[in-house]
């Protein structure tokens, strides 16, 4: 293995660099919630173990619990037919029934109200939703669009809704949108997540023109920000009054915040998307659920090669059933609160490095202080060298955002639910150690 480690830590794995600079780290092996990391130094390759506090863009929520699924996976590989979405499947029925009951419970609705389809990635789910929104009211027979006056799509500053040409249009960041064709006949407007005044102002400005509002369960890339119950209620009320669709993007937030969804219990979105954790870190599986039949796409729209194939459906269904039987929502809430409180103490000790810790359940973010507002990668690498893997969120730093409302880069944690209390405390200790080292002026050559 050694020659390969030397090679890969020097030249990388060959994947295209989408970042302008990939990290110098190679992940060699996982063991429960830990990952063995390698980095090439001047004269040798250093390896060390770190706590996985990310799950890999939040997808690996089940990482650390795969052993419990091995029997189900083996059996499913032998038995499950490759039924496409044109055919029915008992495994799919079981999964859909379970998810509809969870959706109904969280939103105080009934399972029968929900329609559902599966997509592969979160991006694909959001692209499907955009098709639903744009096609609602359109008659294929006449070519007439009954909702053509409703041209405004509202999203949140700093939001992230996927990488497709269409879903990129929902972002307020020109580094992602410039050069990509705009959707015709659509006006984009942006609100400040969780800000009731911003919400009311947008609805007043575009009254009668708002077709849909897209929000995340918690704002993710914009800095891991939670909105109040009052904001959600106001949003629901305004959407109902305006006859605008409320889209709740729970792709990042679903399952991990101590409940099935991150939006408050009883809020009734028109459309909900899930992904990331839903696929267990094993499959790219996402879903779109909606309550109003008028949002159902016309025949031919939304057919997918992988629409919860029975193999996927059986494994996910088994994983969800075990998760519920083990009362993992409650445990996510408890462990997340423990980590949040421990990190609050660290943030209070090192205000020169950390500005604030926020979040809910096992979705937490530590916003960096002003001197490190755009040095997220440096802090992330420092933390990794000390033993904890985090991810950098962009925050809200564009010049289009008033300075007093900006959010600095934020280190996001979306650990697998198998993370232990001891590991949560260790994460906080490592944040403390990083704070000490950074203030002491020690930089890139930081090792525990």
């Amino acid at each position: 293995m050694q020659p390969y480690i030397d090679e890969i830590t020097t030249a990388g794995d060959g994947l295209h660099d989408h970042y302008g600079e990939r990290t110098p780290f190679t992940m060699l092996k996982a063991e429960q919630n830990n990952i063995l990391i390698a980095e090439k130094l001047s004269d040798h390759v250093k390896t060390w173990s770190c706590i996985n506090a990310t799950g890999g863009y939040g997808a690996g929520f089940w990482t650390g619990s795969y052993a419990s699924l091995s029997e189900t996976i083996s059996q499913a590989l032998l038995e499950c037919p490759s039924a496409t979405d044109e055919y029915h499947s008992l495994d799919r029925l079981n999964l859909i029934s379970l998810i509809k009951s969870l959706l109904a419970h969280h939103t105080d609705t009934t399972p029968q109200e929900w329609e559902m389809t599966f997509t592969s990635t979160g991006t694909e789910a959001m692209d499907f939703v955009l098709q639903q929104i744009l096609l609602e009211g359109y008659s294929l027979a006449s070519g007439v669009h009954a909702h053509q006056d409703k041209d405004v799509l509202i999203t949140c500053r700093g939001a992230w809704h996927g990488w497709s040409v269409a879903s990129l249009q929902l972002l307020d960041r020109r580094q992602f949108t410039d050069g990509i064709p705009k959707l015709p006949n659509v006006t984009n407007s942006y609100i400040r997540y969780g800000d009731i005044d911003s919400l009311k102002k947008a609805f007043a400005t575009y009254s009668g023109r708002i077709r849909a509002v897209f929000v995340e369960g918690l704002l993710g890339d914009g800095g891991v920000i939670k909105a109040s119950d009052a904001w959600w209620q106001e949003l629901r009320n305004l959407c109902t009054k305006e006859n605008a669709r409320l889209i709740d993007d729970e792709i990042l937030t679903g399952l991990r915040t101590g409940a099935f969804l991150a939006c408050p219990q009883g809020i009734k979105p028109d459309v909900i998307t899930l992904g990331k954790a839903l696929g267990l870190g094993l499959f790219p599986v996402s879903l779109v659920a909606w309550r109003d039949k008028s949002l159902s796409p016309r025949p031919g729209v939304g057919v997918r090669t992988f629409n919860a194939r029975p193999l996927q459906a059986r494994i996910i269904n088994q994983a969800l059933k075990s998760f519920l039987a083990e009362h993992q929502f409650e445990q996510c809430a408890a462990k997340g609160l423990m980590l949040l409180n421990a990190l609050k103490e660290v943030v209070a000790k090192y205000p020169q490095v950390y500005r604030e810790v926020r979040g809910q359940g096992l979705l937490l973010g530590v916003e960096l202080a002003k001197p490190y507002a755009k040095k997220g990668r440096f802090i992330r690498d420092t933390l990794l060298r000390l033993g904890v893997l985090t991810e950098v969120e962009s925050g809200q730093l564009g010049t289009h955002i008033p300075r007093e409302e900006r959010v600095h880069e934020t280190l996001r944690m979306t650990p697998p639910f198998s993370i232990t209390e001891q590991e949560c405390l260790a994460i906080a200790e490592i944040f403390e150690k990083a704070g000490q080292k950074i203030l002491a002026g020690e930089n890139h050559a930081l090792y525990s």
């Binding site: 020109r174 580094q175 730093l397 564009g398």
Partner: protein, 81 residues
């Protein structure tokens, strides 16, 4: 250079440095020389372009000038004004 031109250039330079320090969080931009190369990534290039467009009506569609020196930014702003 006339005194008025000098004043104008200084005002532009101050505005650019303020943008680099307080919007792009480039602490060093407060004190670097006009010719020093700044460490600008692709996202920041977009921010600089938007800043120049919105504040000085700079049209960069045909410009090949790299946006990595304060002097270049000042020259672009002056040329557009």
């Amino acid at each position: 250079m006339l005194a008025a031109d000098t004043t104008k250039q200084e005002a532009i330079e101050n505005k650019i440095r303020d943008f680099l320090v307080n919007d792009l969080m480039k602490d060093t931009a407060q004190s670097v020389s006009l010719e020093d190369e700044l460490d600008i990534d692709s996202i920041e290039q977009v921010e600089i372009r938007v800043f120049l467009e919105e504040n000085f009506q700079v049209d960069l569609k045909t410009s090949q000038v790299p946006l990595n020196k304060i002097k270049n930014l000042i020259d672009l702003a002056i040329a557009a004004s």
